[in-house]
């Protein structure tokens, strides 16, 4: 069962001698300091004092209810505010050290890529190859290098041999993988993903998660992923932030976060994992389950079984 792997995957799938993904001395690539943001026609700020840092190579999951400010935060990190997305801000956002609220990313713009919820909204080419070439052509990358990158990017998202396909004929999962490949064409150091699986069917979701997980394992890319599928996110992320009403409501390891069932029930963003919810509800009713709260279904069921057998 999926839940049985949760929390262990990050350490278990990366074999021994490799250096840990995140070092405390790694470069801070993204930083927001006491960031407040209000849109022109809004009555309430969308972000209220957000402080957050991502180090090179980290995988950060962001979750929380609709309208909490998750996409707004990504738009800031991508450097879209205030030039492309108009809003008033205080505080600061630094991307690769550039203050993007007052200046631009300059030549570092190609080092950060964004994948959106709606795959179709970001596909511009008639064919897969045309779509992939669009970004690097704009940056003046030579054609031979573009061809090399196309085969690398397609391999990375499992679409090998599909360069000639018409983009409209791709499945939802394939379109979203193409969107990720388009971002990879610029060889970014940071990839931001804004609910890339939320409009996909279960097969498409699984395809995209597999691609993101491979990226996590096989490259040094910093990844920030907004996602409602908690189990899948927890299996990949080094840290998870819960955003609620424009604030960071929680910031911790997946294990710490998933155990906080009350937080998820309060914010209404995601369904808490079944094991964590069951464990929490029983404890709240005074059922004496041993040890630490668990988010692992096998463990929780074993504890309940032991208790029920004793009771009978």
């Amino acid at each position: 069962m999926d839940t049985a792997r949760r929390g262990e995957t990050t350490t278990m799938t990366v074999p021994g001698p490799q250096a840990p993904r995140t070092r405390n001395d790694a470069e801070i690539v993204l930083a927001a300091e006491d960031l407040w943001l209000i849109y022109p026609t809004a009555e309430q700020p969308s972000l209220r004092g957000v402080t957050f840092r991502a180090r090179a190579g980290e995988f950060i999951g962001i979750t929380g209810p609709s309208g909490a400010g998750k996409s707004t935060l990504l738009a800031c990190l991508q450097g879209l505010v205030p030039r492309s997305v108009t809003a008033e801000t205080t505080g600061s956002v630094r991307v690769f050290g550039h203050d993007v609220l007052t200046g631009t990313l300059g030549a570092d713009g190609s080092r950060i890529g964004l994948v959106l919820q709606d795959a179709e909204a970001q596909i511009v080419g008639m064919t897969v190859a045309e779509d992939l070439a669009f970004g690097p052509e704009n940056y003046g990358v030579p054609p031979a290098e573009i061809r090399r990158r196309i085969s690398r990017a397609l391999a990375a998202v499992g679409l090998d041999g599909m360069a000639g396909r018409d983009t409209y004929a791709l499945s939802g999962g394939q379109k979203q993988r193409l969107a990720i490949a388009s971002v990879l064409m610029l060889e970014p150091d940071v990839i931001l993903l804004d609910e890339p699986t939320s409009e996909l069917d279960p097969v498409g979701k699984a395809e995209v998660f597999e691609v993101v997980d491979r990226l996590r394992r096989e490259s040094a890319t910093t990844i920030v992923m907004v996602e409602h599928e908690l189990d899948r996110l927890a299996a990949m992320a080094d840290r998870i932030l819960v955003v609620d009403q424009g604030r960071i409501a929680a910031d911790g390891t997946p294990a710490e976060l998933l155990a906080d069932v009350a937080l998820f029930l309060r914010t209404g963003g995601e369904r808490p994992p079944a094991a964590a919810e069951l464990d929490w509800r029983l404890r709240s009713a005074g059922i004496p389950l041993d040890d630490e709260p668990s988010t692992d279904l096998v463990t929780v069921l074993a504890r309940i079984t032991a208790l029920a057998e004793k009771h009978a």
């Binding site: 609709s66 609910e195 069917d201 079944a274 509800r281």
Partner: protein
């Protein structure tokens, strides 16, 4: 007593020159039922549902709505009978304001109380305050609610809703499902196409499982989601509430649709501090 509202009789459907997308489908939906259509993409769910409002007509067999074959009914007559909410609200929304979007359907059908119907639909989905807004400034979840409102404003006795909770957070999904459940409690018939098994187990009493153009299983959700012999063939996974309550059934846990219900049962069995609702 049960009154058959939609009858699908040995239906085959194929696009010209292709192999059948549906074959041998038999299904009867009674007035007042709340039904989930389950199955992976390509299983034939949407193709079948498009037969209910006459968007498609069978290449073999018959679909009856209110006792009449859809081939003998006009699209207008069918539109009054069967409302259809698309998966992507943006494929459906076109008016410049929320209010105009919801008014369009009842006005178009010439319903005398169009304004009232529109007001009631907006109130039901909680969008009254946004009535003057442009639909595209609403969030995705609100656009989904607007799409549903614009269909229920026509007051159809049957509603087909394609993936109502896709792209929604938990609070939004529960809100829309409670809304649909209340609509059923008022005597309407609702067919929901969905992949969200947690939602099915919690809210929808009858489930129809489709795979490769056929009906694989049909019955009460609590039975269908326990068909471990059939679900893998449809590439479906029972939600945790079902598997957990089965695992614990030997201690007296009942057939639960939510983890909250499992916890409630366990608290009664094990005698927790508060043996009421957790």
């Amino acid at each position: 007593m049960s009154e058959p509202l939609i009858q699908v009789r040995d239906v085959e459907f194929r696009y010209p020159g292709h192999s059948p997308v549906l074959h041998g489908v038999d299904l009867t939906i009674d007035r007042g039922e709340f039904v989930a259509l389950l199955g992976q993409n390509g299983a034939g769910k949407t193709t079948l549902a498009k037969h209910f409002n006459g968007l498609l007509t069978p290449t073999k067999g018959q679909v009856l709505v209110g006792g009449k074959p859809t081939s003998a009914l006009s699209l207008t007559e069918l539109a009054r009978q069967v409302g259809y909410c698309y998966q992507n609200p943006d494929h459906q929304i076109f008016a410049p304001t929320v209010d105009k979007e919801v008014r369009f359907g009842p006005d178009n059908l010439g319903l005398p109380d169009a304004a009232e119907l529109a007001d009631r639909a907006l109130a039901l989905v909680g969008l009254t305050a946004q009535r003057e807004a442009n639909p595209f400034v609403l969030g995705r979840g609100q656009r989904q609610l607007l799409a549903v409102a614009s269909i229920i404003a026509m007051d159809p006795p049957v509603l087909v809703v394609d993936e109502p909770t896709t792209g929604m957070d938990l609070a939004g999904a529960e809100r829309i499902m409670r809304l649909l459940a209340s609509w059923v409690a008022d005597g309407r018939t609702i067919i929901v196409i969905t992949h969200d098994m947690d939602v099915v187990a919690e809210f929808i009493p009858r489930s129809v499982v489709m795979a490769h153009g056929e009906v694989l299983a049909d019955g009460p959700t609590e039975h269908v989601l326990r068909r471990s012999d059939l679900l893998p063939e449809a590439r479906l996974l029972a939600p945790p509430a079902i598997t957990v309550s089965d695992e614990l059934s030997r201690f007296g846990v009942g057939r639960c649709g939510t983890i909250r219900d499992v916890a409630d049962d366990l608290v009664h069995i094990l005698g927790g501090r508060d043996a009421g609702r957790v």
